[in-house]
Every structure is written in structure tokens, then in C-alpha cells.
Symmetry: D2
Subunit: 143 residues, 4 copies
């Protein structure tokens, strides 16, 4: 599992004093960026700006079980559950201490940002993904 | 179906020139606000500030089928699929013309914002919900 | 003066129940977009996507005199105070009814988005600007 | 000077591939939070949630001299220039390496979040501020 801790800031919170749910997705986007750079060894900024590739989200299925509050230290983590030709399925969770705040299943699709068409997962990313696969993770690659 | 058109603005778009997916959820939150105020006849600001009630999202399962771009006129719409004691299940979609951009199933839970505990759906909201129920919508209410 | 009314939404507000100040700038950016499209007759989305021109903010000097709250109807307005070769100076204000919430002086610079270099204000924009000039507005154009 | 480095992320950038200016203010808000917690020794989350005090921005005068891009490591820093009874004036800057990206003068006002009225700067905050005063910084306190 790739994990990062994020401080819940004033900017994340709504008038109810809890994280406004779209802000969780901003945080999860940062988690994926850090995972590419630090976990997969593929600089996420360079991927976008130099290689003109991105990983837009094709599906996000997220359950929010408990609210998070200003000052919480939210630990976000992800594992890979399925590797397709262009798509990467993730299990994502957010917790504070042992308390789960959210669980999500997310599908990323590797795309060319100029055409917005999916492209095969580049080999060096595919190699890196294996390290974050949980048991039973399936992998397909068109030949 | 309750519908609203939203202009895709510069602030919604990312370096790929398409809507950054968390921004869709900001727009969907606005849709629910407008639906309460204009569709259900329950002022969404007053609900929060005077009655100290809110409708946090317990689950969001969203599939993004096509990207949206700066200047698109995104039509967001929702129908009710299930009414629980505190929970409201919605089918949500976003389209530009006839092209679907996103489809989502969302669960809102009516909560007291001071305790963050779920509360029964207030009667006048429950009454309004019926108008947005699609065929087969189920409704439960604890007695 | 070019004016637009914006509803203060849940997404704009912070744990203090008032507009989080960076959200005012998101709203002001939308004001400038609408002004280009509806006031100057230059579609702001097309300007960016087709003509590859933008109007980044070079300076923003904003005083927030009173907080705005969920449900407020904030009327944002702008006038032009100075027209340079590439730069446009604006006076911006936000009010709810007669109560001023913010006053700002903003400098936009017309840029080519591919080089991020300033370019002369295109003639059809320059012509439109004149309609929004307040008394004493100066205009310069390099020949 | 209190300094923090922030990675410029995908979420901060606009279709021009540069930081969308309201996002700078989200980052500056985080800088002030970290400064309170780590620089002044006053936990910024506790200040809001327990002591019901906040530091809304009364004025922000910011000049953006050069754009920042995805992957930039933006170093944000602040010093105190004036300490009033309730108001704190800051000089803020953002740079990448030696290149200045923004310079700002910001006025914070210590407020009670329940009344939104200004309150005198609490003594332990006032004491901490002295460490971040630049030469010529003035300090007033009503007696």
C-alpha cells in the first residue's frame, strides 16, 4: 500500500466544520500524483508537461463513513486491484488513526492529453504497478 | 427530473483543458442546493444556517464517460431512486446536448450539523421528494 | 459598470460560515469571463481555446470590508480605470444590497497562452473596453 | 522569515498550464496556518475549533510577477511588518529558486468566529509575532 498523510486544513472544510466532499477528491488526486512520482518512480508533473500523458478518472465509487475535521491527520492509502491495457483500478482508503473515513474504488485511464484517447500503459509504469498489487490483482495487456 | 445548466468555466478546467473531476462534484453540490431551494421548496441556505441541518454525501459512485471542456454548457439533472428514513438516493447525470458526460448514483443523508448524526427526513422535504421519484422508487419511513 | 449576481453557496463557505476569501477570486474570475463574453462580445472560452489568448491577473489588491454568508446574493461589478498596451486595470466591487463586501483593483494582462508573453490588446477588445471606462480612464496604445 | 515549500500540483493549474491565481491564495492560507502552528506555537486548528477564533483576511494586495507551473517547488515565506491591536500586517512572497513569483501585503484580523468581531491579539500570539518582525515593524496595543 502506498500511503501519505495529509493535514485537514481550513480550506478543506465547509460550514459544518467537516471536509467538503469534493475536497477529498482533490486530496486523492494529490495521492495519485505522489504515488506516480515517489511510488512508481515516474514524475507526475513531467508525465503531463513533457510526455503529454495523463490519468483521468473514469470512475470513482467512494463511500464516506465518518466525517473528517479541521486538524485531523488523514492517512490516505492505495493499492492496485486490476491492471488493464490502459486502465488501472485502485482501492483507496482514508483513515485517521484506525478509524476509516472513506473507502473508494477508482479507475484511472492512461491517456494522451492531446487527443484525450486512452493509450497502453507505458512499460515502466506497468512494471512499477506490480509492487502495489494486492493478492488476486489481475493484469491484462494487449499484445 | 430536476435539471440545471452550468457553463464550464476556466476555474473548472485543468492543464489538459478539461474539467478537473473534483470540480464536477462542486457543480453537483450546487445542483442539490438548487434542487432543495427551487425543486423541493426548502431553502438550502436556511436549512443549514437556521435549521442547522445538512445533507452530507454518504456515497458517490460516478462514471465519467466523456471529458467536458471550457465553454461547454453542461446540463446536470437528478431523479430520486430511493427514500429511506434519513437517506436519499439519487441518480444524477451530466450531458452536453445529447452526449452523456457523467452518470452518478449518490446517497445523501439528512443530518443535524451540530451532532453530525442522521435525522429523519423532515416531512416537508419527504413530500417534495415524491415529485422527483422515478418509476420503481421505494420509500421507507420508520414509524 | 458590468454587474452579475452570484448566489453564495455552501462550496464558497468555510468553517466560520463565511466566504473563504480565495473563493471570492474564483467568483471574480467568473465575472471577468462573463464580462468578456456578454459585455465585450468576445467569447471568453473561444479566446482561450481557439485564439490561445488569456488574461492572467498581474495584480489584485482587494479589501474585504464585511463577510458574506451562505445564501447571500452577492452583486459583483467592474469598471475599467486604465487601458494600457496589454494591461487592463479594473475597479471591482462586491455588495449585498447596499452593503459593500469587497473592493478591489485588479490588473489583467492580455497574453499569448503558448508563450505566456503579453500581447497588445486586440482591437475588438479595445473597442469594447471603452464602454466600461469610468470618467478619467486613460488609454494608451503603442503605435 | 517563516518559509514553507509547496509542490505545484495538477489541482493548482489551469488550462494555460499555470497556477490559477485563486489557488495561490489557498496555498497562502495554508502558509498562515502552518506559521501559527509551527512558527507561533499556536495550533491553528485548535484556535478555530476550540477557541472559536480566526484570522480572516481584511486586505490582500498581491502582485504576480511570473507564472508558476506544474511540478514547480514554490517556496512561500512571510514576515510581520506591523502589529496592531487586532490586525497583523504581513509581507508575503513566493519564489522558485531565486525567481520571485509573487509578492503580497496581507492584513489579517484576529476575530471571534461566533460574532465575527475583531478581538485583541491574544498575548501568546503577540509574543510569538515578535520573532517574525522585520526591521521597522511597528507594534501597537490598546491599553
Amino acid at each position: 500500500m502506498f500511503e501519505r498523510e495529509e493535514l485537514i486544513r481550513f480550506a478543506h472544510c465547509d460550514p459544518a466544520g467537516i471536509v467538503f466532499y469534493p475536497q477529498y477528491f482533490v486530496l486523492l488526486n494529490g495521492l495519485v500524483e505522489d504515488w506516480f512520482t515517489d511510488g512508481l518512480g515516474v514524475d507526475s508533473a513531467e508525465l503531463v508537461t513533457v510526455r503529454k500523458m495523463g490519468t483521468p478518472t473514469a470512475r470513482m465509487d467512494c463511500t464516506f463513513s465518518r466525517p473528517s475535521r479541521l486538524g485531523d491527520r488523514l492517512v490516505l492509502g492505495l493499492t492496485v486491484t486490476k491492471i488493464g491495457n490502459s486502465a488501472i483500478d485502485l482501492d483507496v482508503q482514508g483513515r485517521v488513526g484506525d478509524e476509516i473515513r472513506l473507502k473508494a474504488r477508482q479507475t484511472l485511464v492512461v491517456c494522451c492529453l492531446e487527443t484525450m484517447k486512452s493509450v497502453p500503459i507505458p512499460p515502466e509504469i506497468r512494471t512499477g504497478l506490480a509492487r502495489y498489487c494486492r493478492d488476486g490483482c489481475s493484469s491484462e495487456e494487449k499484445v
